[in-house]
Each structure stands twice: as C-alpha cells, then as structure tokens.
Amino acid sequence: MSSESAKPFVGEWLAGEGKDSDLVISSRVRLARNLPSIPFSTLADDSHRKQVADLIGSALEGLRPDLKLNSKNLDDLDSIDRQVLVERHLVSRELALGSGPRIVSFDDSEAISLMGNEEDHLRIQVVKSGYCLDEAWQQMDQLERSLDGQLHFAFDQQYGYLTACPTNTGTGLRVSVMLHLPALVITGQIEEVTRAATKIHLAVRGLFGEGTEAQGDFFQISNQRTLGLSEEEILSDIASVLPKILSYERKLREELLESKREWIEDRIGRSFGILSHAKLITSQEGLEHLSLVRLGVCMGLLGNLTLEQVNRMFLFSQPGHLQANEGRKMSSDERDNKRAEVLARILQEN
C-alpha cells in the first residue's frame, strides 16, 4: 500500500475533474445488502464472517473481469494501511476497526469499492469526481444487478432490502455529495443551507460521513430516508436541492470578488504562504488553509495551481498517508513536520 501513495494521483474522485468540480469534490452512491440466514455483525462470530467473506469472494470472481478488482482482507493489513484506506474513502472506519474476516475490494481507479462484513454483509459504493450522481448510479445499477445474479439478497415485499440498521432499510441506498462551500461559511450563510437541507430530510455531515463534524468548509450532504422512495426519487431529491446550494455559493464568491477582492486575495495569499513555508502544520490547520487555497484556485487567483494538486495535498497530508509514505508510525509532532514538508513540496511543483 505504501508505494501506491507515490502515484501521481490516486482515486478518480480526487482528479478534480467533472461537472461543478470547483464546488463538488465527489459524488457517491452506496448500497447496503445482506444475505439471509446469516447473523449481522452484531451477533456474527468469526465462522459467520468467514461464510460471508467466502460467498462475497466467489461472487466478486464472477464479476466482469475488466473491472480488475483488487481484494484485500483487512486483517492482513497493518493499522497504517487500514487508515490509508479510510482516508481514501475505500473502507469505513467501522470496517477498519472491526475484527475477524473483513474484505475490501476496489478497482484501479478507486471509483468502485465493495466492503464485506461491515455493519451489513455487503456494502457497495461508487464514487465519481465532481457532480455526477447519475453516472455513479448507472454504474452501481449494473454492478448490483450482476451481484444479484450470484447472491440471494435478503428482501421483503413490504420492507425492501433488509439491513442491519433500520435507518438503511428499503433501498439501502445512501446518496451523498462532498461539497466545498467556503463562501457560505465565510458569510455565515451555511447554517441556513443546513437548515433547509434538514427540512427536506437530507443530512449534512463532515468529511468522513456519519458521526463526523464538518471541517475546513467541507460538507457531505446525503439522504436520510431510504424507505418509501424509489432509488430515482432519492437521487432526484438531492438533484433538486444541489443546484440551489451551488448557485448560492457561486453568487457569494462573485460578491466577495466584486466587493472585497483585496480582502479575499489577502486571506488566500496568507494561506498559500503558510502552506508554502510553515514547518509545523496540524491536520486541522492544514485543512483550513487548504480550503482557502482551493477557493483561490477556483477563483483563478493562484496562477497555475490545479485542483488536482490541491486534492492531492488534501489526501497526502492526512495522518495515514503521511505515515504510509514514511513506512512507520509517527508521533503527532513528527506528523505535523512531515505534513508541512509534503504540502510545501506539492505547492512547489509549479
């Protein structure tokens, strides 16, 4: 795993391409599926987990070979590599911290990822760069249909797909978009957006989904209801509200540039300066300055710096990636030092 971090960029979703990629970092769809007659993780022992892992493993072998999925058992990886997978959004924190046979399988572009023995027996996700939920769903649709041919998923005529937690029952579908909304935060309007989203049953969360706080102006908006709506309706709920949020953010960015260009240039320039020259940067501080630098790139204020570079800085400055690159565990102080070094190095590529 460590050597993979040396790739020019990892994960299709980090490419900084796709529709509205100035504001939408990634679009993600996730399905939860279970197998009948095998206990869920709350009651499963290792023999049940092995049974699930074997069934899913053979179903994965039956998928189209051109998907080129790499499968790993989480138990075979050390804690740093598991953290790297979490930071790349390929596995959930729950799966990384769990015990017994647990599988992750992902393609080379890291757009498709399947988790075996998470809270549900199988979690499938497709992540795309920018705002591209329809394409992500089409890919998911095909993938799920191929798996449906090989695995009998637990299903009930009334309740739909049966999941370990009743908050996923029905479609088992969670649709989410990762947004960068600095102007809404700077102007104090973000709470209004959050309130509006909550009213129509959408959840606003932090970078790593459930249970995480929003950091550095990054937000994840996802559906809360999974039952009583079709998959298309869930997708269109998000699609109906997202353009409004995006145009609100864009309008505020324009107003900032028109009315306070010097001020915003100063803020962005200061963040750029800190990321270029600081020797110790904490994770939180890094995120805050990266957010402003990202804003600067989108506003065309930072010359040749690209979104792909910013996204790479964002990923490689996270604790798991820093330690994976060094090939050893590091103390928090050591990480702050290494983080500053990595951030400055990527900025100097231009």
């Binding site: 449906d148 299903f155 009930d156 049966l162 104090g188 039952l227």
Partner: protein, 235 residues
C-alpha cells in the same frame, strides 16, 4: 417566562441598556466584530472602520435576513430568545449564551430538553412501558438468531434479516418515524421483480381510483377498478 429558571436574574443595567442592534460582520473569521474589537482585528482584516464592516455586510446580505447580535454585550450571536411576562407585560430579549447564563438563565437545561434523540433513546421512546427484559412473553425472540426485541430496541441494530419477520407487528411505527413510510417502493432482486412491479402498479392505480372518485369521474373509476382486478387476479 419561556426560557428562564431564575426570573429577574438579569443585571439591572441590562434592562436600561440601549438595545441598538448591529448587523454582525459577514465573515466567519470576524464573528462578533463590534466597534470595540474591530480595532484589535484591524491589522489582520484590513477593515478600516465599523462602517466598512457594515458596508460589506450590506453588500453581502442583500435580501438575506441579518444575524442579530446579543442585546447586552453586542458581541456574540443571539442564542436565547427570552420572553418575560411579568405583571401582564410581555417583554422579549435576544441574548447570547454567555449573557443569558450570566443573567441566571440556564440554556443548558433547556437544550437538554430539546436535544436530538440518540438512536437508542429514540427506540426506547416508542413503547417504554410495553417492552421490558423482565417479561419474556412480551419480548419476541428471533427463532433464527436469538435476538430479543428488547435488545434490538436498546441497541438499534437487528441480529439477522429474519428479525424483520419476527418483529413485524412492532416495526411499522418505528420505520414510519424514520422514513415517513413503511412500504418499500424501490427496486427488488430479480426473483421478486415481477411481483414488486405489480404491487407498484396497484398502488398507483389505487391513487388514481381515489382521485377519480373524488372528481366524480365514475366511468373512469370503473375502468381503473377493472384494471386493478385484472392485476390482482394474476398475483
């Protein structure tokens, strides 16, 4: 007194204070900027005066409701809307958390009452008296995984997919609370697809039938009824 626990605890000079309201500075990093602390922030923010802060605020807030500052300290955002009714006279105060607390108003106690339910509490709140570990007859247990209903309510997680069947009689209310529905309307596995699509069609026809009857379009209603019978005869 809607939000207080100690009426009259506010400092006397508060009531005499000039309740001039100021629009909060627009930038998150200048939250609570007032004439007093703008000076301190000047080197950082490049604002020259409170007027300039307000000018930017008005540009950015065209058509947007301004966020109010605490009436007392004029620095922090309003967190407590206090209504005081004394001797038949109603007075309203807008205070920040700190000033409310300093004045003897405990926001903490109020927040506790309104905080979001945790999943476990949510489960526990539905039928607190009807389920208990003590009475095994009132605690259905899954014949496949052994999960007890009471434990499911406590933990918020099912033990296996068969639990849905075993706990069916209690699940509809719970799912209604989460999803505002207890009927799946999405896709189905290949082996169920035909049946589900028939059910979806029936639901749709039922809605159309109700609409037709409401509009007194009885011929149309009869046609829809026949279509429904036909579909039902195939299931």
């Amino acid at each position: 007194m809607a939000l207080t626990e100690g009426r009259g605890g506010l400092p006397r000079n508060y009531l005499e204070n000039d309740l001039k309201r100021t629009i909060r500075a627009p930038f998150g990093r200048f939250r609570g900027v007032s004439a007093r602390n703008v000076e301190a922030e000047r080197s950082d923010c490049r604002y020259q005066s409170i007027e300039e802060v307000q000018e930017v605020a008005s540009v950015l807030r065209k058509g947007i409701k301004p966020i109010m500052l605490c009436e007392k300290c004029q620095q922090n955002e309003v967190a407590v809307h206090l209504t005081d009714i004394a001797a038949g006279i109603k007075k309203k105060y807008q205070l920040c958390k700190e000033c409310a607390a300093a004045g003897g108003v405990s926001i903490h106690a109020q927040l506790k009452k309104h905080k979001k339910f945790t999943l476990t509490e949510f489960y526990g709140s539905s039928h607190p008296e009807s389920r208990g570990d003590q009475d095994p007859t009132a605690d259905p247990t899954c014949s496949e995984c052994g999960m007890r209903y009471s434990l499911f309510r406590k933990e918020g997680k099912f033990g296996c997919s068969h639990d849905y069947q075993e706990f069916r009689s209690d699940l509809d209310d719970l799912l209604e609370k989460f999803h505002a529905s207890s009927q799946h309307r999405g896709r189905a596995p290949g082996r169920f697809r035909q049946q589900v699509s028939r059910q979806v069609q029936l639901d749709q026809l039922r809605d159309e039938l109700t609409q037709a009857v409401t509009n007194e379009q009885f011929e149309e209603a009869a046609k829809i009824r026949d279509q429904m019978r036909l579909l039902e005869s195939h299931s």
